[in-house]
């Protein structure tokens, strides 16, 4: 049987604001329990909400960046449900008048463009945190503690259409969303801290069927890895059930990263009826063209546009330009390094190669690239060294640990440490002649056509020069001296 997978994602992105959605408490993460609270966000009797304008601006930004239509008349509604992490016993959210509608994002899956449609984006407040006591999880707990620091921190909920066809697509879409959120600088997209979360609605159907299968909602996906893993687990589980002649129950399932499995959350006895209605404590938000245009002008250049530009203007391979735009700062650092190049003949590709090497070093060592204030300058310097054959590109890798997160000029550094390649032909010539003399056998092998032995001879040259011989030049001269060029 051939199955088709149908996935819709609900992404919750926490916004990077100073204060909460409806009060002046700090929206900071991770403080001591109940220290960023006030009468408003703890729902003391008599308090009233006042909307943080920056949240509306951020929502418009994301809406424009994801090709959405911005609704001109917006309204907040109350979503009524009892739970101790929701002190008003209603969440202030948007219901039938969300701020953004009908957008999409393009992602690349196996070198193919896939368009993921976005149903809506709306503004809402986060809930507080429950810490269960006496057990690792809710079921064994003796009691729970309510911390309201996170309560009423602003969120955007981004709901996709059920058009995602695989766990990998889901992950790629989520990664793309995070990239855009970070480019817009409206959220930090940090999944470990919960500032980017998602729930996945997963169902399967026979290929060719039009009717959707029964879906389950998988929650607690707090890393890109778990998004992919949990959805694949759920797909397998559903296929197993259906192929055994069973039926899927519509339910919420909780992903446990430690055991790599999903479990059913005990279905609640009551049907959900949130009794949404417009919040009478808040007034409508009317967004006119002027407001939208003002935001549009503030929008930064987005990754897709930059990629296109890098390919067109700099003739970079697509792969390079995609990698360079993975984060905004890298794209900027690359471009600045190229624009301030120290040699006219330095090419964009040379700069890009160095920039990517530089960035990879941060990634593989878990360093924070956003804090590397001298990246552009150092990328420029390193590219110059490569361009002038002062050092080999492998030498760059060995220099990086010493210079990143310092304000070292790589050119000065190489000079100080005496790392410059030996490119003096006179000096190299006498070294190579020595090597040939000391290794007559291998020399003869090369002369008789056994080219593999060149590697051995190059190794001997590098040993004598402590790795500083310009490899291209040395190779060329060796061949000349052996009379085979």
């Amino acid at each position: 049987m051939s199955w088709e997978v149908v996935i819709g994602l609900e992404i919750h992105a926490q916004l990077k604001t100073n204060s909460k959605l409806f009060c002046h408490c700090s929206a900071a993460f991770g403080d001591t329990p109940n220290t960023n609270i006030c009468p408003v966000c703890t729902a003391m009797p008599g308090v009233l909400p006042v909307l943080n304008k920056k949240v509306v601006d951020s929502a418009i930004k994301l809406g424009l960046a994801t090709n959405c239509k911005i609704n001109s008349i917006n309204e907040f509604s109350r979503k009524n449900y009892f739970y101790p992490d929701s002190p008003k016993a209603y969440q202030i959210s948007q219901f039938d008048k969300p701020i953004c509608l009908a957008g999409y994002l393009n992602i690349m899956v196996n070198n193919e463009l896939r368009r993921i449609d976005i149903t809506r984006i709306h503004m809402e407040e986060d809930a507080g945190k429950l810490v269960h006591q006496g057990s690792d999880n809710i079921s064994g707990a003796t009691h729970s503690l309510v911390d309201l620091n996170r309560c009423s921190v602003p969120l955007l909920e981004i709901v996709s259409e059920p058009v995602i066809r695989s766990a990998t697509e889901a992950r790629l879409y989520m990664e793309k969303m995070r990239q855009i959120i970070r480019y817009l600088d409206i959220g930090d997209g940090n999944m470990e801290e919960g500032s980017l979360r998602c729930d996945a609605n997963v169902s399967i159907r026979k290929r060719g069927d039009i009717k959707l299968g029964t879906k389950t909602e998988v929650k607690n996906l707090n890393s890109f890895k778990s998004v992919e893993k949990a959805i694949n687990l759920e797909i397998d589980r559903q296929i197993d059930i259906l192929e055994d002649g069973g039926t899927i129950i519509q339910e919420t399932r909780h992903y446990n990263e430690a055991t790599a499995s999903t479990t059913s959350l005990r279905s609640k006895e009551e049907a959900h009826d949130y009794r949404y209605f417009p919040d009478p404590d808040l007034v409508p938000i009317v967004i006119d063209e002027l407001w939208i245009e003002t935001i549009r002008k503030e929008l930064p250049e987005l990754p897709e546009a930059i990629q296109k530009r890098f390919v067109n203007d700099y003739n970079l391979p697509t792969d390079h330009s995609v990698r360079l735009t993975s984060i905004k700062k890298l794209a900027e650092d690359f471009e600045n390094a190229y624009k301030n190049r120290k040699n006219e003949n330095i090419t964009p590709l040379e700069t890009a190669n160095v920039a990517l090497k530089y960035y990879d070093y941060f990634l593989s060592n878990n360093l924070d690239f956003s804090k590397s204030n001298h990246a552009s300058f150092q990328i420029g310097g390193l590219t110059f060294l490569v361009n002038t054959s002062t050092v080999s590109s492998s030498t760059i890798t060995s220099i990086l640990p010493d210079i990143v997160n310092t304000n070292y000029d790589p050119i000065e550094y190489v000079k100080e440490k005496g790392l410059a390649q030996v490119s003096d032909t006179g000096e190299l010539k006498s070294i190579i002649q020595d090597v040939i003399k000391e290794n007559p056998g291998p020399a003869e092998e090369i002369k008789s056509g056994k080219m593999q032995t060149i590697g051995f001879m190059m190794g001997q040259i590098m040993q004598k020069t402590k790795g500083k011989a310009n490899p291209g030049l040395a190779n060329k001269m060796l061949k000349e001296l052996l009379g085979i060029s």
Binding site: P39, T42, A43, M44, P45, G46, V47, L48, P49, V50, L51, R78, N80, F82, P84, P87, K88, A89, Y90, S144, V146, D273, R275, Y276, F277, P280, D281, L282, V283
Partner: protein, 487 residues
């Protein structure tokens, strides 16, 4: 001294005939003495009242000029938050709750150095028209203690009518200031929605609630409104309008003003006795050069139904925060979260509150929202439009404040709908957000009756001006001799 109105008392303080402390003590003493019978207070806040009075006396001693009503005591309905002072909404569920903050109007009264002498009794969460739903028992109408004072701001009305305080604060969601003012023979004002900040007023129905004053005279209310009104950034529904002096029209002539009497309020629900009384009154006023015209406001017929859908809907959500988690009453008889919440709420709320929570949840339920809640909101739009049209022609709209004078406890509790019908005159005004006032106009069956005047939005000054002139013509005097009789 306790029989004097606020303005007279203020002059006595200003002229150093009496110190603020002496005056405050006189009201506290009288309040304590009479509260045993009238049950108008949930709490007498002697300490903060005396501190404030002392501040005023210090000011006088240093020769500083007093602003109007400095040193004049005031009683506050028990649904308005005062920092550190138990505020209960007359509900068991808020037993022991001490707000961590002051309502905006409390900040204003504190800034004006008005001694707060107590928190007044009310219907639980302001749901009721008689104070009978209070967890702390019914208040007594000082005109006849066998009758109710009206509600929900019954305690605040009793306090002013019985000389316990010259001024008090109430809140009005469907008539909760005007109806008890009428029953107790005093002045009560519900300003335009958004005139007075709701920040710190424990919400009943957010789109209808409005704070307002009780006083013995229209002039006192006008002065008090000057203190209470104003934009508040903490309340998104607060109206950012220019400050005005609400006393400016008090002496303006009312000859030739046009007054509309809506048939829907005047004809339908009045007994012959009451109707005859008001007919006579209108005749009398016509002789003063006021032009009365009967008009039709067809949508007003539906105001009560509309109100009893919208108000409970908002209330059901507003009252969900009372879950035993962060403050107030928590049941001890629970061993799971859901049980704790359910039992705390079931043991903490009274029947009328529960009834309205049920109504509210019903009309908001999926499948019923459009038929009830949305429909009611649409009718609300029509009610607003009807009023808007009327104010194109008329200066004010007049009706009795209540269909009957004060009734006896238990008389209407058996049938909730009958209790709700008591609000039929006052409810339309809240739906439309309009300002309205009730002034005493005379007696029926030896009990006071009120005249309700409704103005166009933001036309409080005009409304108060007309009311002040009517007050002079009607010449209604509070008879305080019953206070001595009670004791």
């Amino acid at each position: 001294m306790i029989h004097l109105n606020a303005h007279e008392l203020f002059n006595k303080i200003k002229n150093k005939e009496v110190s603020a402390l002496e005056l405050t003590n006189a009201f506290i003493t009288h309040s304590k003495k009479t509260n045993a019978v009238l049950n108008s207070y949930n709490l007498i806040t002697e300490e903060i009242a005396i501190n404030t009075a002392n501040r005023v006396d210090k000011k006088i001693a240093t020769g500083e000029k007093l602003e109007i009503f400095e040193g004049v005591p005031i009683a506050i309905k028990d649904n308005i938050c005062i920092e550190d002072i138990e505020t209960t909404c007359s509900s068991k569920i808020l037993e022991g709750f001490k707000p961590p903050y002051n309502a905006t109007i409390i900040e204003k009264l504190n800034a004006m150095n008005m001694p707060i002498i107590g928190k007044t009794n009310m219907d639980e969460f302001a749901m009721g028209s008689s104070t009978e739903t209070s967890f702390y028992g019914v208040s007594k109408n000082p005109w006849d203690i066998s009758t109710v004072p009206g509600g929900s701001s019954g305690g605040s009305a009793v306090a002013v009518a019985s000389g316990q305080a010259p001024l008090s604060i109430g809140s009005d969601t469907g008539g909760s200031i005007r109806q008890p003012a009428s029953f107790c023979g005093i002045v009560g004002v519900k300003p335009t929605y958004g005139r007075i900040s709701r920040y710190g007023l424990m919400a009943f129905a957010s789109s209808l609630d409005q704070i307002g004053p009780f006083s013995k005279t229209v002039e006192d209310s006008a002065h008090l409104l000057n203190i209470l009104c104003g934009y508040d950034f903490r309340d998104s529904t607060s109206q950012n309008v220019k400050a005005e002096d609400f006393t400016r029209d008090l002496n303006r002539s009312i000859k030739g003003i046009k007054v509309a009497i809506p048939k829907e309020l005047y004809n339908s629900s009045l007994s012959k006795e009451v109707k005859d009384y008001y007919d006579q009154l209108i005749n009398k006023l016509s002789n003063e050069g006021i032009i009365f015209e009967e008009i039709e406001l067809p949508s007003l017929k539906y105001a009560l139904s509309t109100y009893y859908i919208i108000a409970p809907a908002e209330a059901s959500s507003n009252l969900s925060r009372y879950d035993g988690v962060r403050y107030g009453y928590r049941s001890e008889n629970a061993n799971s979260l859901i049980e704790m919440m359910t039992k705390s709420r079931s043991e903490g709320f009274g029947d009328e509150v529960k009834r309205r929570i049920l109504i509210g949840n019903y009309v908001l339920s999926s499948g019923y929202y459009d038929a009830y809640y949305k429909k009611a909101q649409q009718v609300r739009t029509l009610i607003k439009e009807d009023y808007k049209k009327a104010f194109e022609t008329y200066d004010v709209i007049l009706s009795p404040t209540t269909p009957t004078p004060a009734f006896k406890p238990g008389e209407k509790t058996a049938n909730p709908l009958e209790m709700y019908l008591n609000d039929i005159m006052t409810i339309p005004v809240n739906l439309a957000g309009l300002p309205a006032i009730s002034i005493p106009c005379g007696m029926v069956n030896n009990l006071p009756m009120g005249l309700q005047l409704t103005g166009n939005v933001f036309e409080e000054s005009k409304l108060l001006g007309i009311s002040n002139q009517l007050e002079k013509i009607l010449c209604f005097k509070l008879n305080n001799s019953f206070i001595e009789g009670v004791l």
